[in-house]
Amino acid sequence: MNTTETTKTNLLTPTKRLKRRYRAEKWFKRLGLTAIALSLSFVAFLFFTIFSDGYTAFQQSYIELDVHFKAEEFTQEKLASANYPGLVKEAMSTMFPEVTSRQEKKQLYNLISPAAAYKLQDTVEADPKIIGTTQKVWVLADDDVDMLMKGKIDRNLSQGDRRIRNNQLAWIDRLVKEKRLEMKFNKTFFMTGDSREPELAGILGAVKGSFLTLLITLSLSFPIGVAAAVYLEEFAPENKWTDLIEININNLAAVPSIIFGLLGLAIFINFWGLPRSTPVVGGLVLTLMTLPTIIIAGRASLKSVPPSIREAALGIGASKMQTVTHHVLPLAMPGMLTGTIIGMAQALGETAPLLMIGMVAFIVDVPGSITDPAAVLPVQIYLWADSPERAFTEKTSAAIMILLTFLITMNSLAVFLRKKFETKW
């Protein structure tokens, strides 16, 4: 019976079994494609949410005030001692003369950021001749006004549910109509350090802190990493010690980064007594963290230099050290640089170990040296993400956009280097 069936089946018409096998094949292929599509759509979704949340942060609402710099306010010797908040309030009251009750006045003044007074002070100090005149000055609006202007506070909610009251809404509408409330490019964001007021918070302090930290990391981890890779690949005898070092490096590459933070806290801060929250300690911790990456990449690129180069150099009488420094190392350098850039990108994005060594402090000043307390970009993102004010959400997203820009630039540089100097032997 069996034989009759096999003779009957035509090889060109698929059997049931074959159909099933092909169906399984098709389904499996689709499953794989779905997996890739899924992960790529995660990337797209993440970038989309960050961008749509964050792009508004590059603009900020400003309000134009007609400030009368009354001469009697500036009788004291120092310009700084004048009552600038009073001037702001007066300018607002003259603009809205109908507001009289105490409570309403307070709500009116709340439309302006506390930074306005400093802005007036700067204006006067830059040009003292304006005392006694009336000047048009653009000052920062409060963060709630800003959120309303960006459509992030819903006007249609009942008054109790939103942070802007109805009368404030009317004033804002009037200001907009009179072209006194406008969105301008947010220079503050790029020029200042952190602040408790969202409209004043800037990224410069964190960028500079990250820069100083990475400077320390780079200047330590690159030479040490290259030297270690050269020793292990070119000089080390094959014995238990070298094996131990190798296993160690591979394991360190996979140790959770927070553990490096514990090491930094216990040794660099408690034992050596280095100052907390500073780029020095951050740089040291990140050095230890990125070293395995750099060593592994360095060894790989040394391995890819063909032995014929070494033999040729040794053959014409170079010493082992000369072979390495004159011939092998220059050829392996592009690969090592690529590894180093990738390690630096890793260090730039790292947060957890820096939390351990106290880089989460609220720091307003832009750090000037490696021993000043500083924040770094990812930690700034973490701090802002924790802040309750609505306006900090967009600042966080904007900071993330800046961080990602740096990271993507660094990674593309690494890819470019690899492509450009890739040698096929």
Binding site: E25, T351, L355, M356
Partner: protein, 461 residues
């Protein structure tokens, strides 16, 4: 304060390089050409330069470490007699005040004349010593260089000496890895041992209640502190399980598709896109989890009538899973690539479909490697910090409900150690004990995983 020293040392050693090299050239001239020298003139130069900068830098570093102790002890000896009778704590206070006066420069009106005098003495002593060390360092740069210079003759094996020194430097650099591991073990172990003196090891490992608040006052109620780490482990495992159940299927399928089905063109753009996921900082994922995914899950849950807390294990786990996808996929991609082509060809030649080849031939062959890469990914998930800190919450409930807030080892380490802390309370020491467990566990996972992967590679090489 020492700003002049480094340029000085640099200048002296650069100078001695040329000095030594030119001396070698003169020696060569008198003995009939460079080929009669043992080494190249530049080696003699390097030797002279090294002998000037190495001792100088050594002295400088040693002084930097000891400065504080030496000067303080010198000043303490000359303090007025009354303060010598003080207890150790009070003495520290006096010394601190003195240093504040000396460095802060703020003339506090309350400063007693004795402290003021001590501060002046401190400054004077420090300046005297610093000048001494400055001169000493420079002498230490010049004298050895001069000796090396005198020693240069045609038989001096300068190259061997220079290369030997460089090699010692190289060895030192490669030992940094071992020192790091040692540093981690020691720092975590010592603090943990201190912790286990106040909390028994078994209570820590098997206790069911975690609330690390220590009473501020003796009479305060209900906060004696409980250090049972089981709820913390449970939360860690729960989140890791959620993460892996996202990352393993998606990552593996993506890797298989990319290495077996995808056209070369697709590979070239899809792989870097996937790697973008690996390059995104974890704090960004944390922000994404806390502000986008967690509210989304809560809303979906509420719409089908489920109680979802706003910081759920599910949100943190899902986002962590997304983060780990590229680890799983790129590691397994390597592993699948290592399976010899002949095995694929053999299976296909027997009439198997591609799916059957993958299922019955490639996956079994690559299984050890795949398991290894999954283990590495698990260790990543357990050690991940920022996502869980921002999205998983702090409540140490013993629950396996993914819709509730849980806490993890890393979250607890962060919350216990961030902010001001004293280093003798069990609360902060508990963080080190958790760190020790985390380190041991991930080390074990990595060790096993790396061994498995390595053995697997050797099998096909």
């Amino acid at each position: 304060m020492y700003s002049y020293l480094f340029p000085c040392i640099l200048l002296i050693s650069t100078g001695s390089y040329f000095w030594g090299a030119s001396r070698a050239n003169t020696v060569a001239d008198t003995s009939g050409g460079i080929r009669n020298l043992h080494s190249l003139p530049s080696h003699y130069g390097m030797l002279t330069a090294m002998s000037s900068c190495i001792p100088a830098l050594l002295i400088f570093v040693i002084w930097q470490v000891l400065e504080e102790t030496i000067i303080t002890s010198l000043v303490t000896k000359s303090l007025p007699a009354e303060s010598l009778g003080l207890s150790a704590n009070e003495l520290t206070l006096v010394l601190n005040e003195m240093k504040n006066v000396a460095f802060g420069g703020f003339a506090n009106h309350n400063t007693s004349p004795a402290i003021q005098a001590a501060a002046d003495l401190y400054l004077a002593t420090m300046n005297w010593w610093r000048n001494l060390i400055g001169i000493g360092t420079i002498l230490c740069a010049i004298i050895p260089a001069a000796i090396a210079y005198r020693c240069i003759n045609k038989d001096l094996r300068a190259r061997n000496l220079v290369e030997g020194t460089v090699k010692i430097f190289l060895i030192g650099c490669s030992l940094v890895a071992i020192l790091t591991t040692l540093g981690i073990v020691l720092s975590v172990l010592f603090e943990s041992l201190r912790f286990f003196q106040s909390v028994p090891f078994s209570d820590f490992l098997f206790g069911l209640k975690w609330s690390p608040q220590i009473a501020m006052r003796v009479d305060q109620a209900g906060s004696s502190g409980a250090f049972g780490a089981v709820p913390v482990f449970a939360g860690t495992i729960l989140i890791a399980v959620i993460a892996m159940s996202v990352a393993i299927p998606v990552g593996l399928l993506a890797a298989i598709y990319l290495s077996e089905y995808a056209s070369p063109r697709m590979r070239t753009w899809a792989k870097p896109m996937l790697e973008i996921l690996a390059g995104i900082p974890t704090v960004v994922y944390g922000f994404f989890a806390a502000l986008t995914v967690a509210p989304l899950i809560r809303d979906i849950g509420q719409s089908i009538g489920l109680q979802v807390s706003s910081e759920s294990a599910l949100a943190a786990g899902l986002v962590m899973g997304i983060m780990i996808i590229p680890f799983v996929s790129s590691l397994s991609d390597d592993v699948i690539h290592a399976v010899p082509q002949s095995m694929r060809d053999g299976s296909l030649a027997l009439g198997a479909t591609r799916f059957e080849t993958i299922w019955y031939v490639i996956i079994p062959a690559a299984l050890p490697g795949i398991v290894g890469s999954i283990l590495l990914a698990v260790s990543r998930a357990i050690g991940e910090t920022m996502i869980v800190v921002m999205a998983a919450g702090l409540s140490a409930d013993l629950t396996f409900n993914p819709l509730k807030a849980v806490t993890t080892v890393t979250v607890q380490i962060v919350t216990l150690l961030v902010g001001d802390q004293e280093f003798d309370s069990p609360k902060t020491l508990a963080a080190f004990a958790l760190g020790l467990l985390l380190f041991t566990f991930t080390l074990f996972l990595n060790f096993v995983a790396l061994r498995v992967v390595r053995r697997y590679r050797e099998q096909y090489e």
